[in-house]
Structure formats: structure tokens, C-alpha cells
């Protein structure tokens, strides 16, 4: 069997990522030139840590975008005669190399890591965004109103935080949970994950609509069109995630919100676990900011509570929140990996990093090469995000 040398493997891999290098070579210098006009993002180009963090994050972002061009084979394609092929072995028919070798079903490890980046980079940021909206829309009133609202919400948040994460995952992600309808009333049938999705999506919708209404209350000609568009979007989103019904199919288009039940489950579980953390941070920031003069000014002006919260307090809390968002995407990635490692995540064949790490680690004694690339991929992505968070924190301290 033909075999590439280590040098050829490195060169070949660098070559496969050509689109990624081109994209980075365009984006980063251009951003550097315009860094003074790009706000917080531009400030990241001020130090070495920021550069490295941005480079790693862009690398994985563009890898996810161009996955179809970079990967050599489909994620599930098996080459039965080349099980456990060593890194650098050439595929016998097409002659395409297995850069990182093949796993126990003869699937290309390199391609699977590339395809896996797509899954990880969709779910982790999306779950973080939802967790942030949930945490913000509950943390703002808790900090602003205080009293009973605060006590009830804080108690609930601490309850979730005290919960052993793994138990929660095992109980929420078991396949049987999806089939059990806890709400069964006429045509409304919902399982626990769907109910949770409904609540989370509903909170997101309420958050967006309240933002619009409080901002443009006195300008109905702007408010009405915006409100209509947003309501339609929210309705589509809620029915899509909670009722598994994508309204685009009615128009004859391909469904966009086509979540696998597995994906919905882990999405909900991850949001559920990370939103109390966001809640605590937002609550703390709100407690601090609500004593400022500009908040008092807005209150004297006669603005409503929600206007003050969403348009006076929230924008002034953005610095720490952005830093936390970076850290939290990384933490979510680690959580997703842990879910995959316990076999609770997506389907067992899924190329996402956690599942592949689990697959590879079960057979470490037989062959080490299938487990290492996804593990290093996950680590480098989290490292990039943590470096970004660190650089952002330093930049915001400078002001």
C-alpha cells in the first residue's frame, strides 16, 4: 500500500485548506486597516493574543463554511478494506490520501473532523445566543425590580446551577423522553423538550418584540412594519422548533428549520444548563447599573421600566457580556463534547467532535490516530475563544 511521508501529509493538509487561507488573508488584513472604525472588534487587532484568537476562530469558521470543498469524502463514507488505515495511507481506488488515517469503519478521519466543525459551529453559538436571550430577559427584571421577582428567579437559577449537569443530561436526552407527550390537549401534543423549546423560543420572541415596542412607541409608522416582519419571523421560528412544522414548506420551499429530534434535545439541554449563568451575570450588572445617573434621568423623563432595562441598562452592560459570550461559546463546545462523549448527543455516526472522540477513545489500544484529531480540533477552537475573551477583557480595561 502506498504511503505519504509526514512532510507530504502536512503539505497536503495545508493545501486542502486553501480556501480558508485565502478567506483569512482577505478578512484579517482588511479588518486591520479599518480597525479604528470597527469598534470593539477592531480593538482586538491591538495585541498578539487578539490576533491569535481571531486567527483560530476565523480558521474554524471558514472551515465550517467551506467544509464541502475541504473534505475529501462524505462524513459517513466507509472504505471497508482500509479499517484503521494509518495516517498518510492512500485510498486504493481513488488514490485520495487518508491524511489522518481511517477509523474502525474505514471512514476518513480528516474529512469527519472537517464535517464535524460544521455541527459544532452551528449548535454552540446558536445555543449560546438563545441562552443569552433567556438569561437577559430574566436577569434584567430580577436586578431591576428586586423583591419577590428577584427572589423567585434567583432561587430557580441557583436550583439549576446546583443540579448535577450529567444527571440532567441523562434524563433529558434519553430517547424515550421525546415520545412521551406531557401536554396532550386536542391537537396540541408536546414532549418535554418541545415544551422547553416553546418556552425558550417564546422568550426570545417576547424579547425581540418588547425591544421594538419600547424603542418605537412614539413612531407608529416605523413600528408597525418592523413589528409585522418580526412577528412573522417569530411565529415561523416558534412553530419550526417547537411543533416541528416549518411554514416555508407551505410555500413549496425546502424547510430551513428542520431540526432532528436529537438536535432539539441537546440544544435544549445546553441552553437550560448555561442560561442560569448568564442570568446571574446580567442580574449583577443590572444591580450595579440601575443606580447610575442616566438611569435616573430616563426614569424622571417618564420612560417605562422595560425601556430603561432594554435601552439604558443593557447597552451599558455589553462589555462584560461580550467577554462572557466568548467564554460561554467555548464552554458550550466543551459541554457538547461531553454530551457526545457520554453517547448522549447526536446519532452515533455523527461526525461532531464529541462523538468522534468517544468513538476513537474506546479503541485507543488498537489505534490512537482516530481520537487525536477531533480532540485537538475541539481544544484549539475553545482555546481561540478563550484567547479572544482574554484580549477583549484587556481592551475593555484600557478604556
Amino acid at each position: 500500500m502506498e504511503q505519504l511521508s509526514a512532510f507530504e501529509i502536512v503539505l497536503g493538509i495545508l493545501g486542502r485548506f486553501n480556501l480558508v487561507w485565502i478567506a483569512i488573508a482577505i478578512v484579517m488584513p482588511v479588518s486591520y486597516v479599518f480597525r479604528h472604525r470597527l469598534g470593539l472588534y477592531g480593538k482586538l487587532y491591538g495585541g498578539a493574543l487578539g490576533w491569535i484568537g481571531l486567527f483560530i476562530c476565523f480558521f474554524w469558521l471558514f472551515t465550517a463554511i467551506f467544509a464541502a470543498e475541504i473534505a475529501l469524502h462524505p462524513a459517513l463514507k466507509q472504505f471497508a478494506i482500509q479499517r484503521f488505515a494509518k495516517p498518510g495511507v492512500l485510498e486504493s481506488q481513488s488514490g485520495a490520501p487518508f491524511y489522518f488515517g481511517a477509523d474502525r469503519f474505514g471512514r476518513d478521519v480528516f474529512s469527519r473532523v472537517v464535517w464535524g466543525s460544521q455541527i459544532v459551529l452551528t449548535i454552540a453559538p446558536a445555543a449560546t445566543v438563545v441562552a443569552f436571550i433567556v438569561g437577559i430577559s430574566l436577569g434584567l427584571p430580577a436586578g431591576y425590580f428586586g423583591g419577590a421577582t428577584d427572589r423567585v428567579l434567583s432561587f430557580t437559577a441557583n436550583l439549576v446551577l446546583a443540579f448535577p449537569v450529567i444527571v440532567l443530561f441523562y434524563l433529558l436526552v434519553t430517547p424515550g423522553i421525546r415520545e412521551l407527550k406531557v401536554i396532550d390537549y386536542a391537537w396540541i401534543k408536546m414532549s418535554i423538550p418541545e415544551l422547553a423549546a416553546f418556552v425558550f423560543a417564546g422568550l426570545c420572541a417576547a424579547f425581540l418584540l418588547t425591544m421594538l415596542v419600547t424603542r418605537y412607541r412614539r413612531r407608529p409608522n416605523v413600528l408597525l412594519p418592523l413589528l409585522t416582519v418580526t412577528s412573522v419571523f417569530c411565529a415561523w421560528f416558534i412553530t419550526g422548533v417547537a411543533f416541528d412544522f416549518d411554514a416555508l414548506t407551505l410555500l413549496g420551499a425546502a424547510p430551513v428549520l428542520d431540526l432532528e429530534p436529537n438536535e432539539l434535545n441537546i440544544f435544549i439541554a445546553v441552553v437550560f444548563v448555561s442560561s442560569p449563568g448568564v442570568f446571574r451575570i446580567v442580574r449583577g450588572l443590572t444591580l450595579d447599573i440601575r443606580t447610575r445617573d442616566y438611569v435616573a434621568a430616563a426614569q424622571t423623563r417618564g420612560e417605562g421600566s422595560w425601556y430603561v432595562m432594554l435601552w439604558e441598562i443593557l447597552p451599558n452592560a455589553r462589555g462584560p457580556l461580550i467577554v462572557d459570550a466568548c467564554l460561554r461559546v467555548g464552554y458550550t463546545t466543551i459541554l457538547l463534547g461531553a454530551l457526545g462523549y457520554f453517547g448522549l448527543g447526536l446519532i452515533p455516526e455523527s461526525p461532531d467532535w464529541g462523538t468522534t472522540i468517544k468513538e476513537g477513545s474506546a479503541l485507543l489500544r488498537r489505534a490512537a490516530h482516530p481520537a487525536v484529531p477531533p480532540a485537538l480540533a475541539l481544544m484549539s477552537f475553545v482555546l481561540g475563544l478563550n484567547l479572544l475573551a482574554d484580549a477583549l477583557r484587556e481592551e475593555s480595561l484600557k478604556d
Binding site: A162, P164, I166, V167, G176, G337, K358
Partner: protein, 344 residues
């Protein structure tokens, strides 16, 4: 202070009640019960057999009644076998002859369907094994994290600071299942100097050979966070007025760090180390699974995977208790360490 403590204890109790009830509710959902029954009879049991097993073992009684029985505020009903004699859910569990109060309040944690014995002694065994692991992790993690943090924060912005900060960021980005695999490959498969499995630690005792990898894996992930907190706190202390005074007085740098800075710089990391326990708990589960160490985390995964209701409840109670108690200790300890804070 006393009022604060009583209030906290009341909240803790309420939190425990809520969490155990949520776990109880989730494990008793129909699909989970069916999974449990099939695991106990066999995986291809008919619906009728499943139903009769669940009914005979008392899983069809109302949910609240059974939760009360588990707590010990409602009498627990005896279980009868096919011939009407009282028996237990699993082999080596105590047999209940007639209805009696037997729950957590009475000190009976129930019967494990996975291990076929009473939950109480089993979970103690697991907690003891995990305690040993945690002890060594703490011994390795805390001093090295504090050392890194103090060295980095001593001269903010220096080359040592940069290097150590990047190292701590690197460790916080390496979850246990990544470092565990990398270490196993390097030290067990490749160099062959350490054992990639800690299974022998419970039977033959802890040794350097079988325990280094799990301890190293766990300590590394938690270390970075504590080190960063220590660094921040140390850097803040080093810029404070009294340090400047000490320096102007002509004290040597070493003496300033040892006598003046360290004590105040280590208050914040104390809280962080305490709050680290809950986080370590998730890590314990992963590390014990990777290295096949039969401790609390391993038991938790077995219980969750087999829907072993009473063992899982005991595991959740134990871990929630650890979280709440460490939170309390960190709050109370902070007040004692930092005289500027007073509890209302």
C-alpha cells in the same frame, strides 16, 4: 450571623427538596420506567410482563405517595413476589414485612436495581473512592495553581506573566476528555510508564502507577481557572497603596511578596477554590469513566444509564449537597478571611 445561617440552611433544604423531586419526576416518566423494567426482566419482555413487574414492585402507586415514601414521611409499602411472600426489589436489599416509614429521614436510601444491594453502603463506598481521588487532585492542583498565579501576578506584564497566563488559558481550554486521551496515548500507550486505567486503584490500592493519569487530567483542567483568579487578585494587591509604602520603606521585593502581598492576595482564590468543587464534580464523572475508576462518578453514570431510580436519587442528593455546602463554606469563610465584609 446566626440569622444568616438559618436563612441559608432553609434555602438549602428547599433546594434539596426541589431538585430531588425533579429527578424523581424525570426518572418516573413512562419511557424511563419501561427501560428500568426491561433492564430487570430482559430487553425483549412483553408489555404485559413489563406492566406486571412495575405493578408488583410498587411503581404504579401515585407519584407523590412514592416520593413521600422515599423521603420517609409516608409509609413504604412492602413488595410481594408471585407467591405472595414479602420480598425486595433486588436480591441483597432489606425485605420489608409490613408498611413502615423507611426513607431518607430514617436513614434508608432505598435499593439499587443495578447493583442489587442497598443504596446506602454502596454510595458510601463510591464517595470514599472519589474522596481519595479528590484529595490527590486538590493536593496537586491547589498549590501549583496558587504558585502559577502568584508568580504571574507578582510582576504584571512581565515575560513570566505572559507565559504563565497563556499556559493557564491553555489548560482551561482542555477538557478532561481531551487531556485524558492525549495523556493516555503519551504515557500509557507510547512510553508505557503509567497505567491508562485506574481500575486496580479500588482493589489493590492507590499507587503512582495507576493514579497519576486521572489525578493529572483532573488537576490540569481546574488549575488554569484558579491560577487566573489568583493572578488577578495578586496583580491588584501589588498595585495597592500599602505595597507602595512597603517598597518606599526600602523592603526587598521578596519580603514584600511574602509578608505583605500574599495574605491579602489569597482571599479571593479561597472562594474560587470552594466554588470549584461543583465543577470538579462533573469532571469526576468524566475522569472516572475514562480511567475506569469505580467511584461516585462511575456509579452515577451506571445509575443514570440503567435508570436505577433510588441510586440516582441518592447520587443527585449527594452532589447537590456538595454544591450547596461548598457555597455556604465559601460565603462564611470569605467573611472570616476578609474583615471588611459583614453579613447582614
Amino acid at each position: 450571623m446566626l440569622k444568616f445561617l438559618i436563612g441559608r440552611l432553609a434555602t438549602m433544604l428547599l433546594t434539596m427538596l426541589c431538585t430531588t423531586f425533579i429527578v424523581f419526576f424525570l426518572v418516573n416518566l413512562e419511557p424511563n420506567l419501561v427501560r428500568l423494567a426491561k433492564g430487570q426482566i430482559n430487553s425483549r419482555a412483553s408489555d404485559a410482563a413489563v406492566e406486571s413487574w412495575l405493578d408488583r414492585n410498587g411503581y404504579r402507586a401515585p407519584l407523590l405517595e412514592r416520593y413521600g415514601a422515599w423521603l420517609g414521611v409516608w409509609p413504604r409499602q412492602p413488595i410481594y413476589d408471585e407467591r405472595g411472600r414479602p420480598t425486595a426489589t433486588a436480591r441483597n436489599c432489606p425485605v420489608l414485612e409490613k408498611p413502615a416509614y423507611a426513607g431518607v429521614l430514617q436513614g434508608y436510601l432505598g435499593c439499587s436495581t443495578r447493583y442489587k444491594e442497598a443504596v446506602g453502603p454502596k454510595i458510601l463506598e463510591g464517595l470514599k473512592a472519589t474522596g481519595v481521588l479528590m484529595f490527590w487532585v486538590m493536593i496537586v492542583m491547589v498549590p501549583s495553581a496558587l504558585l502559577i498565579g502568584v508568580l504571574a501576578g507578582m510582576r504584571e506584564g512581565s515575560r513570566t506573566d505572559r507565559g504563565l497566563s497563556v499556559f493557564s488559558i491553555l489548560t482551561t481550554s482542555t477538557p478532561e476528555y481531551v487531556s485524558g486521551i492525549v495523556f493516555t496515548i503519551i504515557f500509557a500507550s507510547w512510553l508505557g510508564v503509567l497505567n491508562g486505567s485506574a481500575a486496580t486503584a479500588t482493589t489493590k490500592g492507590v499507587s503512582f502507577y495507576n493514579f497519576t493519569l486521572p489525578v493529572m487530567t483532573m488537576a490540569l483542567y481546574g488549575m488554569g481557572y484558579i491560577a487566573r483568579m489568583t493572578r488577578a487578585s495578586m496583580a491588584e494587591v501589588m498595585t495597592s497603596q500599602y505595597i507602595r509604602t512597603a517598597r518606599l520603606k526600602g523592603l526587598s521585593f521578596r519580603l514584600i511578596v511574602w509578608r505583605h502581598a500574599l495574605r491579602n492576595a489569597l482571599i479571593a482564590p479561597f472562594t474560587v477554590i470552594m466554588l470549584q468543587f461543583p465543577w470538579l464534580l462533573t469532571g469526576v464523572v468524566i475522569v472516572e469513566v475514562i480511567f475506569r475508576y469505580r467511584g461516585f462518578g462511575w456509579m452515577l453514570v451506571e445509575a443514570a444509564g440503567n435508570n436505577d431510580i433510588e441510586l440516582l436519587l441518592a447520587c443527585s442528593t449527594a452532589s447537590v449537597m456538595v454544591v450547596l455546602i461548598t457555597q455556604l463554606i465559601s460565603d462564611v469563610g470569605y467573611v472570616f478571611l476578609n474583615p471588611r465584609i459583614r453579613v447582614q
